[in-house]
Amino acid sequence: MDVVYILWQRQMKRYVRSRSRVLGAIGQPILFLLALGYGLGSVYKRAGEGNYLEFLVPGIIVQTLLFSGVFWGIQILFDKRFGFLKEMLVAPVSRFRILLGNALGWATISFLQGVFVLVISVALGFRAYNWFLLPVSLLVMVALCLALTSFGAGLASIVEDFQGFQGINNFIIFPLYFLSGALYPLTNVPTALRIASEINPLTYCVDALRYTMIHQSHFGIIKDLLVIALMVAACVAFAVNRFNRIQA
């Protein structure tokens, strides 16, 4: 337990000490929220769909977690580059515990950023329909953070350097994001787009947050939670499997 704790603590110390990182990571979602929320709000209203800002907030929270989660997972690449990974790998500690300590650290950071964004949304006028469901929303966020940091860690264990990271961003992260229904409702979209969204686990995360925050759901909360649970299990298994194979 000590090992997991000290590695978690290392990530937290790094995070707290670099304020630019804190600001940088929440700057992007806030920009999206303002630009899209206010920019498309009137069109959305005219189409008879209601308040776009409200609709958008769950999507932007998932966006925050997606980008920061995978980004933190990618920190393994930095540790590889700057050598600290070797120090951890030659220690008489199982790889699983090393991964766990680091991943919990990244997940905590990523979760905190999601919470920041939620707080800022509330300051901008967002109101959840039932605050008693907030713990469920937070739980969904925690699950998503764990899944995404694991996913990022698994990817980082495979690619050799930062050139690979650009490809991951463009061919995995952005498609996942755009096909998650974060920005538009999935009712009445073309069939191909609908199918692509339905096989994207992130869609279910957005849907679960929308259900618990603004009482709108495409799939139903039970199905959402099941898919999320499966996603967490798959991502953690992927990370453990890949991280175990790293040879430095």
Partner: protein, 268 residues
């Protein structure tokens, strides 16, 4: 000669088509200072990586302190400390925090942690700077910190992978003084790689000359010069390894360098 604490038997490491280490065998006895001397790309770092459980050998057997390196990784890991070729420190943390992480990773008893960290940081003259971030440290300070860290769990063996690369003469001498003292006072076994002849000659009890992944000769400096009928270690070394310049590339590997080959293999 006492029982070997480091033993390699017919160890081979291939990366795809490239053979980085080609059937090496050697034994180091307890308390010995042993040097791996060879040109760039000879297989020195690959061997250290295998000995320290970071790379799995393709074939052959490695034992540390009686533990099989591939089968009993944790036991093997507890028996050595290592100073890597490139610094392996967390730069965003202080020296003290780096030491504290290491203490936990190596299960140093809680009560002893603070005492050992203080002792070691004083030994390498970094106690006054313990609360500075490592990113503010110079190359020499980082190396000293890594040596201190590598000693924290009282290892029986200390590996040093080209530890003096990029250090000035003063720091270099200081580092070797520490190392020799450790060997004398604690009977610690030291295994280091270098391509500086004077370091191998001045520090090591025995030297293995490695080239193209093979050990071409092993022995003390007098033994090596006698074997090759030469007058100095430098002459012996040049006679054994030839005079061509190495760029981590060897012709036997179709001109590919080991690091590129490793990368290609991992992407495949």
């Amino acid at each position: 000669m006492s029982r070997p604490i480091i033993e390699a038997k017919d160890v081979v490491k291939r990366f795809g088509d490239i053979t980085a280490v080609d059937g090496i065998s050697f034994a180091v006895s307890e308390g010995e200072i042993f040097a791996f001397l060879g040109p760039n790309g000879a297989g020195k770092s690959t061997t250290i990586s295998m000995l320290t459980t970071m790379l799995r050998p393709t074939s052959g057997k490695l034992t540390l302190n009686g533990h099989d390196v591939t089968r009993e990784q944790d036991a093997a890991r507890k028996s050595f400390g290592i100073v890597f070729q490139d610094p392996a420190l967390e730069e965003e943390l202080t020296a003290y925090e780096n030491m504290a992480i290491h203490a936990v990773l190596y299960h140093v008893p809680k009560k002893e942690q603070a005492k050992r960290i203080e002792e070691l940081l004083k030994l390498v003259d970094l106690w006054e700077r313990r609360d500075s971030y490592v990113k503010t440290y110079s190359g020499g300070m980082r190396r000293r910190l890594e040596v201190a860290r590598g000693l924290m769990h009282h290892p029986k063996i200390l590996f040093l992978d080209e530890p003096t690369l990029g250090l000035d003469t003063q720091t270099r001498n200081l580092l070797w003084d520490y190392v020799k003292r450790l060997s004398e006072t604690q009977g610690m076994t030291i295994f280091f790689t270098t391509h500086y002849l004077e370091e191998a000659e001045g520090v090591a009890d025995r030297i293995a000359i490695i080239d193209h992944g093979k050990i071409v000769a092993t022995g003390t400096t007098p033994q090596l010069t006698k074997q090759t009928n030469t007058k100095s270690l430098e002459e012996a070394y040049l006679q054994l390894t030839g005079k061509e310049v190495r760029d981590e590339v060897s012709l036997s590997n179709n001109g590919l360098n080991v690091r590129t080959a490793r990368r290609n293999q991992r992407l495949r």
